[in-house]
């Protein structure tokens, strides 16, 4: 369980993380979503006690990170693939981590096996590809077999096989009752992995909801129709009380999942349909809409010039 309470981080007059309050519970994969520069990594660094919050508080199972007596068996984190000294072998990197927390040496070989780096265990980390570095970071996170796992952009640099592997890994870790907190700027990635969703934009909390609720609320489904007897179809649909929107070209769109009903109506009136396809607006669009709203909110006239300028700049970027 990770609990954030009013967590805030300012650099000068720039607010990186703005009054975040949410908690991350066990047994679920919680996605931490936001555009680049939204404050995800800063938040994660504050959770780990690396950065000091300007205000607010964050606790791991009720304790501050620097009060943990067994940090690696409590929480394992993949921050970025670069958290490794390139001149050290993968084995020695993990060994010094294990020793610092009194974790048995045998765990090193186990986690190397888990992430598939056994063959290169004695090779220097600077020769590793981005994906291998990511796997080494994940091995470090798993080393203490912790109750809580935190991954910052874990799929970066992984090949499709690696991405599939990390998805499966995160789900199985959560299924064992662990808390899994994973950041991403890709909604599509989160939709496949996360059970719960925390969305931030410009350091502010935008959404804290279950994935199912988010999909239901944000993914607009509609039916796309093309029909040579266009006017006749419009009449039929109008009589049935179905609202039709003109889409580009000769296509029509009907909100909701009414494909069966429309098909039956067309058959009953002997209408030819060239296309009748149920569609869904992508979650990516929903996500962009959500974060764009935050930008608009910031760009409204306010008392301070700082956030205004920032919001405008962000929108332009």
């Amino acid at each position: 369980m990770i609990e954030l309470e009013g967590l805030t981080k300012r650099y000068g007059d720039k607010v990186a993380v703005d009054n975040l309050t949410f908690s991350v519970g066990p047994g679920l994969v919680t996605g931490f979503l936001g555009p680049n520069g939204a404050g995800k990594s800063t938040t994660m660094r504050m959770i780990l006690g690396l950065d000091h919050p300007t205000a607010g508080d964050v606790r791991i199972d009720g304790r501050h990170y620097d009060r943990l007596k067994d940090p690696l068996t409590c929480i394992g984190a993949l921050l970025d693939a670069k958290g490794v000294h390139g001149g050290r072998s993968a084995y020695n990197h993990l060994l010094c981590l294990a020793q610092s927390n009194g974790i048995p040496r045998s765990r090193v070989a186990q986690v190397l096996e888990t992430v598939g780096l056994t063959a290169v265990a004695r090779k220097k980390a600077k020769g590793f590809s981005l994906g291998m570095g990511q796997r080494l970071g994940i091995a470090g996170a798993l080393l203490g077999d912790p109750r809580i796992l935190m991954f910052d952009e874990p799929v970066n640099g992984l090949d499709p096989e690696g991405i599939h592997w990390i998805r499966t890994l995160m789900k199985s870790l959560a299924a064992q009752g662990r808390t899994v907190f994973v950041s991403s700027h890709l909604m599509s990635e989160m939709a496949l992995t996360a059970d719960h969703l925390v969305v931030i934009g410009q350091g502010r909390l935008l959404a804290d909801t279950s994935m199912a609720d988010f999909i239901q609320a944000n993914s607009r489904s509609y039916v796309r129709i093309r029909c040579p007897q266009r006017e006749r179809l419009l009449d039929v649909l109008h009589q049935a009380g179905i609202t039709v929107v003109e889409a580009g070209g000769e296509a029509l769109e009907v909100a909701g999942g009414k494909a069966e009903q429309i098909g039956e109506l067309a058959a009953r009136y002997g209408l030819v349909l060239h296309e009748l396809s149920p569609r869904q607006a992508s979650l990516e669009e929903a996500f962009m809409q959500l974060t764009a709203e935050a930008v608009e909110y910031h760009a409204q006239p306010g008392p301070g010039p700082g956030p205004q300028d920032w919001g405008a700049g962000w929108k332009g970027a």
């Binding site: 369980m1 908690s23 519970g25 066990p26 047994g27 679920l28 660094r45 780990l48 690396l50 950065d51 000091h52 199972d61 009720g62 990170y65 620097d66 009060r67 943990l68 007596k69 067994d70 940090p71 068996t73 921050l79 970025d80 670069k82 958290g83 490794v84 000294h85 390139g86 001149g87 050290r88 072998s89 020695n92 060994l95 010094c96 981590l97 020793q99 610092s100 927390n101 009194g102 974790i103 765990r107 470090g140 203490g144 077999d145 912790p146 109750r147 809580i148 789900k171 959560a174 299924a175 064992q176 009752g177 662990r178 808390t179 059970d195 719960h196 279950s210 994935m211 199912a212 609720d213």
Partner: protein, 294 residues
């Protein structure tokens, strides 16, 4: 928390597995790995693995050994070949170890800086601080491990050179060194060099940049002496003498009782000076480490 409804069908199925585990107020996964309360010993073991598992340690200490032993033996041989039985009458034969150690100290400075600053360059420091959230413990463990390594290596090499030189120069009229001479030229000088390295380690932690910190430390090592060399004017003589006397090379030579001047530090003074300086910088480095973001 009320919003945390498991939407996935497999989550409730897995629930009994972890709800059965004793988790106190924070339920969840319980690892079979025994929980260990970490202490300084763990951090020391970790830092020992770190320092011996990078090639830069082997390189700097290897070059250090070559410089100290090589230059020490060459100096001894050179002096011996140009001396008759009276040349060094009454002189301390241990003093010819100075040259190798002066150059070798640059290697110790480099290793000291790299011990801390390289972690910032590679991002390893975040991993280190995540594994050991007590920053005081991290700094202490790094300092103890590095100081011990630097002291032992310097003691072995300077002790070896001293023994060889004394036997080489037996027939040049040099006096037989006393126990105190021996102690200062081996243990004393090794403590001084190791503290100089520790000072570099702390500067590396403050500056967080290897090249910058090494440059600063080499400046500290050589600049006062070089500046003093060019202060010919009489009106600067006080400054010049002070720079000479308290320059690190001159303080090193005090351990062999062949200082550049009669005044200035003598006996064990250099050790107390660098001990005080290192303690002050240690306090500053810790304060910065504690307050800054990693």
């Amino acid at each position: 928390m009320s919003t945390h409804q498991p939407p996935m069908p497999q989550a409730p199925a897995a629930a009994p597995h972890w709800q059965a585990a004793p988790g106190g107020p924070y339920p969840g996964y319980t690892s079979p790995i025994p929980i260990v309360r970490t202490h300084l010993g763990h951090a020391l073991a970790s830092e020992w693995t770190k320092i011996k598992s990078v090639r830069s340690t082997m390189w700097t200490l290897g070059v250090f050994t070559v410089l100290v032993v090589g230059i020490g033996l060459m100096a001894g041989a050179l002096v011996e070949s140009h001396s008759d039985s009276e040349s060094l009458s009454g002189e301390n034969p241990l003093s010819f170890g100075f040259f190798g150690l002066l150059l070798g100290s640059i290697c110790i400075i480099t290793l000291g800086v790299l011990t801390t600053a390289s972690e910032y360059g590679t991002g390893m420091i975040r991993t280190t601080m995540t594994a050991c959230p007590s920053r005081a413990r991290v700094l202490a463990a790094k300092s103890i491990v590095f100081f011990t390594v630097a002291f032992v290596v310097t003691l072995l090499t300077s002790g070896f050179v001293a023994m060889v030189q004394v036997s080489m120069l037996e027939n040049t009229g040099a006096r037989t060194p006393s126990g105190s001479d021996w102690f200062k030229a081996t243990v004393g000088i090794s403590l001084y060099i190791a503290l100089l390295g520790l000072l570099s380690l702390l500067i590396g932690s403050v500056i967080r940049h290897s090249a910058g910190a090494i440059t600063i430390m080499i400046g500290v090592l050589l600049a006062p002496l070089v500046l003093a060399l060019f202060m010919a004017t009489e009106s600067l003589s006080n400054v010049r003498d002070w720079l000479f006397e308290y320059s690190i090379p001159n303080q090193l030579s005090v351990f062999y009782a062949n200082s550049l001047s009669e005044s200035g530090p003598s006996g064990w003074d250099p050790l107390w000076i660098i001990l005080g300086l290192t303690a002050a910088v240690y306090a500053g480095a810790y304060a910065l480490l504690h307050s800054r973001d990693v």
